[in-house]
Every structure is written in C-alpha cells, then in structure tokens.
C-alpha cells in the first residue's frame, strides 16, 4: 500500500518533506479527519501514537505526530501547525489515542497551543500561574522567578469545544467535587518512586479517581538542549531515566550517528549491546527491590541491592560511574572496556542465575504476594496500545512491543532471545515480565561476551558536530519501554528541538484507568509494577 497516496487521497493539500525522515505536513483544518481515517481504516490502522512533539517553527507553532501500526509495523510522521501565535488552537486527537491526553497537555504547557475537544486543558508540568510558554523561542528565561507560595490546586478545568455555529467556546469541567475525600499521595511519599503526586479521591479505602500531577522534577532538559552542543546534550540523557542511562544515551548517540551517516565499528556495537543489557538487569533488580519495599518486605529489597552492587562494580570498572556512567559518546564509547570486564561479567551471570531462585523463593512464590498482585490492576491490550505503555507493562498485557525485535538496532538482530509476553495484564504479569527478561538479558550477554571483536572503540569525530538539516527519530528499548529521541535540526551545532519520548508518561497517564476501584494498597503495588521513573516523565 502506498501510504503517500492514501494520505493525499484523504487530505489533498498535504506536502511531503524528505529531509531526514519523511514527514507529511498536513493543514490543521483537515488534520483530525486524516488522523481518524488513518487510525480506523483497516489497511492503515495506525493504532499506536508513538510520540507527540510540540514545535515552535518560528513563524508558526505546530505538532509532530509519530504514528505506528502494531498490526503491520509501518510508521508515518505527520505534522500540522498554526500560524496564530497569539491564540493557537489545534484539534485534539485524545479521543483517538488515549496517550494524547497527557501529551497535548504537555504541548499546551510548553507552547501554549490549546487543543479543541480536549477535556482537560490544564498545564501538566508547570504551575498554573506560570507566565508564558517556556519552549517558545521568544520565551524570556527570567520571566518566572522562584515562587515560594504554596501551590493552590484547582478542582476545575477547562475544555474547548465547538458550538453549533462552529465557534470555539470554553466549557468548565469538574475534577473533584467538594464532598469528595481527596488525599494527596506524593510528592514526598516513600512509594511514588520520586516526586510524583497523585490526588486520590477515596471512598473509605477504595479509590474512586486519581489525578496525577507531574512536574515536581521538571528540569527543562529539552529546552536546555537547544542551547547545548551535541556532545553536551549527551550529559543530560543520563539524568532522564537514570536507571536506563546507557540506553538513553545510546539512543541519542545512534540518532546523531544516523543523521551524520557515521559507520560505527562492530566492537562498539558489541560493547553497547552488552552494556544496555547489563543496565536492563540492573534496572530490573531495582524494580524487584523497590516493589518488595513498597509492599512492605524490606528483606528482598536488600537482597536486590546486594546483587545490584555487582553490576555497578562492573560499570564502575569500565565506565568510571556507578549510576550515571557517561559511557556512550558520538561515534563510539568513552573508553575501551576494562581488561577485567569480560571476566567479571562472566562471573556475575552464573552467580545471578543462581541467586534469582532465592528471589523467587522469598518473594515470587509467596502466597501473600500472589494475593496482592494477581488480578490487581488489569490493563487490557487495547488500552495498553492506546496509552502507548511500551516496555514491560505493554508486554504484560499481551502487546509484543519490544523495540529490539520490532526495529532492531546494534546487535539485536544477530542474537537469539525471546520476547517475553504475558497476556493477563495484571500486576503479577508485569512483575513476571521483568523477572523473565533478566534471564533473556543474560542470554544475550552470554552470546556476545566471548565474541567481542577487536577494533577501535571510537570513531574520530570532528571537533564541532553539525547535524544536517531535517528531522530524525530513533528509538531504543530502554529498561522500561520504548525510549525515542526526536531531533529537528537546522544544520547548526545546536539542535533546534530535541524531544525525548518519555517511557514513563504513558504509564502515569494510565494509572487512573488501572487503579479505578482498587484500594490504596493496590495503588502502591500497581505503581511498583508499572515501574516508572519520575525524572524521565518530567524531563
């Protein structure tokens, strides 16, 4: 099927740009109809909105959509924009893809684009009284000094709808009414894994509604990137999702290398793959530990950390960092692997295989754990795709969404491993996906570790790196889902816009759906099994 032709059939004014990835520029008036068609038509069926990026083009404000079909695997990039900078309005697609809800709020927050028919047009990351929209190019960085007054949380929200005459009107929606027993879980709470805040409406112990509030660790990384050179932007990727530091950096390096057309030596590919998998094991051990701690078992938590230290030792030996490694660089890796690296990895794997049984004995098999996790927090496959909850969460719901299989990179198409998919979609399945993935990761490492080819560990790059004009997108499978990087370059040494597809934002967006009707304790268990990392959500 010719996608271009299909798009032109539906929206004839569409233009195509072929700098970097092919992009279809759609006029805002016909955009919604096109999106709906593309999603619902049997032969296109773009049911997965991978990424939604706000853009300031200078003269106009716009949004870039990365769509993907889970059925056929094909992708397309759409762009739409409006030239009205005073009062920009676009049509919302959050009824087509649930994940768009939070993403559009993010775009509103950063660019001020208001989405018509979006039920909840509030800021997502910044405080309600924030002045201006920070990601616009003309934003004054000094316009918002530190505000130390306690935040007042509104219970009302606005929606833009179109009335019968085609005029845009504002409507008020209520989030929580006065009679509801609303309790804040977070930002400072031991089991929100950071500074996420859930406003939870309770009926006794039972959760009626949850409203997640993000932004307590919004650090403006994407905006900062616009004033950093490419090598400097790398430093910030590690701090996004610090438990997939390697993978995140791998994604950005891969993207820049792809854009520059640099050929990466095989040795580097091997090293990167092994490191990615080690990082994945590290992250999953931490997942196990934290889940155990959230559920009140501190002993498994220390077991997890005990074994995790061995991976950190391996990391530190080679990369010089424990949590944040700064290892991948554009064109290779920072330093060659340590002479002991292969040995220590080979020592670790059999040890860990053995100790994993102990994990299962104390935690997985336990009847209380089964009671707490089985059948709790079920996410259906349709919801998983619609929310875009990639990674372990998606795979637990029966969606085979592993980027390593779908769009192989580095060495993943040359190694043999199984994609772990469960169909239950409950907390226990989410937990088991991760436990089983550790075994697969070890299998991958075992296949590679003995065959690391000789060669250079770095390609010499120019002192000043300039990426050719165009837009690029790459994604890797990070520890908790598909981590994508979108780059819009104007040919400078600074990126024009660098956007990360957060792995955690869809998870948080799905929390309300998953927990509805559960109890407070379920929320904690669900939060633990969703395994989000807050700095990755807030960026």
């Amino acid at each position: 099927m010719d996608l271009k032709k299909r798009i032109l059939e539906i929206a004839p004014e569409t233009q195509f740009v072929e700098q970097g990835d092919i992009k279809a520029i759609v006029p805002s008036s016909s955009f919604y109809a096109l999106a709906k068609k593309l999603k619902e038509d049997e032969d296109t069926s773009f049911d997965f909105l991978l990424s939604l990026t706000g853009m300031d083009f200078g003269d106009s404000l716009g949004v870039i959509y990365h769509l993907e079909s889970t059925k056929y695997g094909h992708t397309c990039v759409l762009q739409t924009s409006t030239t009205n900078r005073e009062n920009p309005e676009l049509y919302s697609v959050c009824d087509l893809w649930k994940t768009a809800n939070f993403n559009e709020r993010e775009v509103y927050d950063f660019f001020g684009i208001r989405f018509i028919n979006h039920p909840d047009m509030r800021r997502l990351f910044l405080r309600d009284e924030w002045n201006g929209y920070p990601f616009r190019k003309d934003y004054d960085m000094e316009s918002n000094p530190l505000n130390m007054t306690n935040e007042v949380t509104e219970d009302k929200t606005t929606e833009l709808t179109i009335d019968a005459e085609g005029k845009v009107i504002e409507k008020e929606n209520t989030l929580f009414d006065d009679k509801e027993y609303v309790i804040n879980i977070g930002p400072q709470h031991p089991s929100t894994h950071g500074v996420l805040r859930f406003r939870t409406s309770l009926q006794g112990e039972i959760i009626k509604k949850i409203e997640p509030y993000c932004g307590y660790i919004h650090r403006g990384i994407e905006k900062m990137n616009e004033s950093l050179t490419y090598p400097q932007t790398l430093a910030l990727t590690d701090r996004l999702d610090y438990l997939s530091a390697h993978q995140n950096r791998h994604a950005l390096c891969m993207l820049i290398e792809k854009a520059l057309g640099v050929e990466i030596p095989e040795r580097v590919q091997y090293i990167r793959t092994i490191m990615d998998e080690l990082q994945r094991i590290d992250s999953h051990i931490l997942f196990y530990s934290c889940l155990a701690m959230d559920m009140g078992a501190i002993t498994p938590f220390t077991y997890g950390f005990r074994d995790r230290e061995m991976i950190l030792d391996i990391f530190e030996q080679t990369t010089g960092g424990r949590l944040i490694q700064n290892y991948n660089v554009i064109g290779g890796v920072q330093a060659d692997i340590h002479p002991d690296f292969v040995n220590s990895v080979k020592k670790f794997i059999p040890y860990f295989r053995n100790i994993l049984k102990e994990y299962h004995d104390i935690f997985t098999g336990n009847v209380i754990v089964h009671q707490r996790l089985k059948g709790v927090g079920v996410l259906s496959k349709e919801d998983a795709i619609s929310f875009g909850t990639t990674g372990g969460t998606g795979r637990a719901s029966g969606w085979a969404c592993d980027t390593r299989k779908r769009k192989p990179y580095a060495m993943y198409d040359k190694v043999d491993f199984k994609e772990i998919v469960y169909t239950e979609g409950d907390s226990f399945a989410r937990y088991m996906v991760r436990m089983d993935e550790m075994l697969e990761s070890m299998k991958i490492i075992e296949q590679l570790i003995d065959n690391i080819p000789e060669g250079a560990y770095q390609v010499k790059m120019k002192p000043i790196i300039k990426v050719p004009e165009g837009s690029y997108f790459t994604s890797v499978e990070s520890s908790r889902g598909e981590f994508g990087v979108f780059l819009e370059s104007k040919g400078d040494k600074y990126p024009y816009r660098l956007k990360y597809r957060s792995t955690g934002l869809p998870l948080v967006a799905a929390v309300d759906t998953i927990t509805k009707g559960g109890k407070i304790a379920d929320l904690i268990a669900i939060g633990g099994t969703l395994d989000y990392v807050i700095p990755d959500i807030d960026r």
């Binding site: 950093l228 090598p231 400097q232 790398l234 430093a235 910030l236 002993t299 077991y303 005990r306 030792d313 530190e316 030996q317 080679t318 990369t319 010089g320 960092g321 944040i324 700064n326 660089v329 920072q334 330093a335 340590h338 102990e358 004995d361 104390i362 935690f363 098999g365 336990n366 009847v367 209380i368 089964h370």
Partner: protein
C-alpha cells in the same frame, strides 16, 4: 464440597510458600555478611581507577603543569563549572601568550561528564578518584586547581 477442598488446598499451599520464604531468610541469616566497613576500611578501599571523583591538574616535581590556558575546557563544559583566569604576557620572543593564573573549578556543580578532559589538547587536567569532599561551606567547593607559583611545562 468442592469449595471446601479448594479452601483447604489453597490454605496448605499458601502455608508451604510461607515456609519456603522463612527457610530462605534463615539461610541468609547464617550466611557471611557482605557489608563493607567504610570508614574503617579507608586504607584498603579499592575504587576503580576510572572513577571520577574530582577534577585535578597534575603537577610534576618542579611544580609545573600542562595547562596553556586555552580555555577549550571552559567551552566544552555544559554548565559553566570551569572558569579559566589568565593574563596575557609577552614571552622572550615578543609573542603574546596566555598564562594561567587561576584555574577555577566548582566541584559543587560538576557533572563529571568528562567533556573537559576530552577537549584538553595537552592532557593538563584529569579526573582522580577521591570522593571525600563534603564541606560545611559552599565556597569551599570552588577550587583552584593550579598550585600557587606553578608554571607551564615548556614543550620544546
């Protein structure tokens, strides 16, 4: 009746898993502990050579370093941790050269990304692995890396 059987079956099964858990913990109870005793082990503590604890400027026995105050590290740094203070003097041949006066390094904001070390053409700076830096006063974290009275190594 079936329900009854199920009730008892699940009860004993559950009991068994609990006992397995108890067995696991008691095994660990008698196992060797893995705790490292910092600070008692300060003398024997092994840290990887590549660990980045703080930026230093190595000086040789004549109190000389390699820094020519070119400022590349300052440019490479993503968040302004390094400030190179220099003065311009004329050398014997009458050429104006930069001489380092104060290599100011703010340990407090350093992110240990290694870009400065990569950027340095003369290997004048490097990371070392000391980590005991906690202080009571923020100003103490702003360090001068070149020693007093040090000079540049003359490269012939």
């Amino acid at each position: 009746m079936n329900n009854f059987c199920k009730y008892f079956d699940s009860f004993f099964r559950g009991l068994k898993t609990l006992l397995v858990g108890l067995k696991t913990t008691i095994k660990v109870f008698f196992r060797k502990k893995i705790t490292e005793k910092y600070p008692e082990n300060r003398a024997t503590l092994k840290i990887s050579d590549r660990f980045r604890g703080t930026l230093t400027m190595p000086h040789d026995e004549n109190n000389q370093h390699n820094c020519v105050a070119c400022g590349l590290c300052q440019i490479a740094c993503p968040n302004g941790t390094i400030t190179v203070h220099f003065e311009t003097v004329e050398n014997e041949e009458g050429k104006k050269i930069k001489v380092l006066t104060n290599y100011e390094y703010d340990l407090g904001t350093c992110v240990f990304c290694q870009l400065c070390v990569n950027a340095c053409p003369h290997n004048a700076i490097t990371f070392e692995n000391s980590f005991e830096h906690a202080v009571f006063n923020r100003q103490k974290l702003v360090k001068k890396l070149n020693r007093d009275g040090s000079t540049v190594v003359n490269k012939k």
